[in-house]
């Protein structure tokens, strides 16, 4: 998931050897992500579901690297997989006592859900392929991916977050179409998100705080027999 070849693309594109590396790795990560996502649905044991989800999100992080969005890929690895899913796994560990580890869902629901999902998928794929603009490079059949910039840098992203949009248009280099001056950056949403995160975490901590309840007394196996027989 991590050996992104964004740097090597220009050289690869030049290599005429027929094999389009970018495609190969894309296929690898895409297959990984999708199969594991399906595995999450099929798995019964909740811990296995969590594990498959971790791998599938790792694969999507690889996809982000491939798409040149390195910062987002690293972010996904760190925040999403390293943070959120660890939280999720903690939740799974705390609640996965024997009875709840694998709750079976009746087959009837599964079939029904599969049908609905399949229909929705067909519609979406048809939409994805139809748009001419999107299949872009396939239409032009241009010489593979002409990556203009040399080493992708996270600087413009950082600058945008601080409020200065420097990206304009990567390839053609002309200013943003409408008003010609630089579009406003993301400073405000950025601050809002940080405050939002604070409030949410405080709320979550408050929700899950310890509550005062009469302890259920010293029940449980009597210590003297050790309960370990």
């Amino acid at each position: 998931m991590s050996s992104s070849v964004a740097q090597l693309l220009p050289v690869l594109a030049a290599a005429e050897g027929g094999l389009n590396w970018h495609g190969f790795f894309f296929l690898l990560f895409a297959l990984l992500a999708c199969c594991l996502a399906v595995a999450v649905v099929l798995a019964d044991n909740v811990v296995r579901m969590a594990f498959y989800l971790v791998l599938s999100l790792g694969a999507t992080a690889g996809l982000f690297f491939l798409a040149g969005a390195e910062f987002v890929g690293a972010m996904q690895l760190m925040i999403y997989v390293g943070g959120t899913l660890v939280l999720l796994i903690f939740g799974v560990m705390l609640t996965a006592q024997e009875p709840f580890v694998s709750i079976k869902t009746p087959v009837r629901d599964k079939v029904l859900a599969g049908l609905v999902g399949g229909a929705l998928l067909a519609v979406l794929i048809q939409a994805a392929l139809s748009g001419p603009a999107w299949s872009g490079s396939a239409a032009e059949g241009g010489g593979g991916v002409a990556l203009a910039a040399g080493q992708p840098s996270a600087t413009p992203l950082g600058m945008a977050l601080v409020g200065i949009r420097v990206d304009g248009d990567v390839a053609s280099g002309e200013k943003s179409p409408e008003d010609g001056q630089v579009r406003s950056g993301y400073l405000l949403p950025f601050e809002i998100v940080s405050v939002h995160l604070l409030v949410v975490l405080v709320g979550a901590a408050y929700l899950a705080r310890s509550k005062r309840r009469k302890s259920s007394g010293g029940q449980g196996a009597d210590l003297s027999t050790g309960g370990m027989r």
Binding site: G17, R48, M75, I89, A96, V162
Partner: protein, 409 residues
């Protein structure tokens, strides 16, 4: 290397590239496996020295250097048991998850000027992110061994590693800010020249941050006073109680390679990566001092430097392990939340003001880097903006980047 293969040997394009990819993967794998072997032997010798005894002497000649090989063979021969009632698939996969996590992190670590797996622009961020994934292997191992004790160990370690990522991240942000970029290669380049250029001596705040970083690194790798997971006295080897043979050795290798990785990272961020204390290469005129055009010898020198610093870090970790008793789980947590994080935050603020007051850095003899402010103008006025800015020396990212890393923690 690739051109040579394609022209002379006439291999088809895609075969050469796959060969090269496999080669680099194997190189890093060897580094880890070889490193682990050397460190196992070193651990035995260091602990022996500290405890006033000899350590392995008979295996393989005088210094017992074949000892870790003997261990390896023993581990291979051992039968891989699996407790019944354990979750088969997860039990088998767990060691490989934690191994791959530390393996993947090696890609970002620069060993010499151009010797780096992949020169990521978000190098440091990527390495820290992947280091955080090692926790999954531990949790799965603890859960899958279906025994109460290993679940305890896994939970403790997961809580510890996750909570120590916060101060670790904050400590890493300071050198990133000083260098203005997260790209490890650029950070190391900026510390070229005499050791006074190292970020360690850049300002008092970074000096303190280095020591906080060392504590957090030791904790996030589960060594020395923080090794709760395998606290023999309480939990009988914690999460890898049920493992034996090859699987256990993967955990072991993962631990040693992440130890090497964390001390390597410390070397790059604070101790000038491949730049030796005395810039021999420049003195001998081999390289022109900017680290640009470096011949093979200089790179080798650089490699020796970094390996030396990283091994030094690992030896110090071993030294700490054999002298200090172990902390309790709640003491570990309090040191993290009540001591490491606030100190790191204050030092970060201090370093920022220091940078503002002394832009070029007091001790920085050759003030190569431009002030962060200039970078912003550089972006704005260039019409084509991006393309021109990119062509010259690697771009210094604005401190804004630091804020993203800050918020995203």
């Amino acid at each position: 290397m690739a051109e040579y293969l394609i022209q002379t040997v006439g291999l088809p394009g895609w075969l050469t590239w796959s060969l090269l990819a496999v080669l680099s993967a194997v190189l890093i794998l060897n580094l880890m496996a070889g490193g682990a072997l050397v460190f196992i032997w070193a651990e035995r010798k260091v602990s022996a020295r500290i405890q006033d005894r000899l350590g392995p002497t008979r295996t393989g000649g005088s210094f017992g250097w074949l000892q870790s090989l003997a261990d390896g063979i023993k581990l291979l021969a051992k039968e891989d048991l699996m407790p019944e009632g354990a979750d088969g698939m997860l039990f088998r996969v767990a060691p490989y998850v934690s191994f791959c996590a530390s393996f993947a992190a090696f890609i970002g670590l620069p060993f010499a000027f151009d010797m780096v797996g992949l020169r990521l622009n978000v190098g440091v961020f990527y390495v820290v992110a992947v280091l955080g994934l090692e926790v999954f292997g531990v949790i799965l191992a603890g859960y899958a061994s279906a025994s109460k004790w290993s679940l305890f160990g896994a939970m403790r370690e997961a809580a510890q590693v996750v909570s120590y990522e916060v101060p670790l991240g904050m400590c890493i942000v300071v050198p990133v800010m000083l260098a203005g970029t997260m790209d490890l290669v650029t950070i190391a380049e900026k510390q070229a020249g005499w050791f006074t250029n190292w970020y360690l001596f850049h300002d008092p705040f970074t000096f303190v941050v280095f020591w906080v970083y060392v504590t957090c690194a030791v904790a996030s790798v589960n060594r020395a006073p923080f090794d709760l997971a395998e606290a023999e006295s309480e939990l009988v080897a914690g999460f890898h109680t049920e493992y034996s043979g090859l699987r256990w050795s993967f955990f072991f290798m993962a631990e040693y390679s992440s130890m090497f990785l964390v001390s390597g990272l410390a070397a790059v961020l604070f101790l000038g990566g491949w730049n030796g204390p005395v810039p021999i290469a420049t003195l001998l005129g081999l390289s022109d001092g900017t680290g640009e055009s470096t011949g093979a010898i200089v790179r080798l020198l650089g490699l020796a430097n970094l390996l030396g610093k990283a091994t030094l870090g690992v030896l110090i970790m071993m030294w700490i392990r054999w002298t200090l008793p172990r902390l309790r789980i709640d003491q570990v947590m309090t040191t993290c939340l009540k001591y490491c994080t606030p100190i790191a935050a204050v030092m970060f603020a201090g370093a920022m003001t220091w940078l503002w007051v002394f832009p070029g850095g007091v001790l920085n003899l050759d003030d190569g880097s431009r002030r962060p402010g200039e970078i912003r103008e550089g972006w704005l006025e260039g019409p084509g903006g991006r393309s021109t800015a990119v062509s010259d020396a690697p771009v210094d990212d604005a401190p804004a980047l630091a804020e993203i890393a800050e918020v995203s923690k």
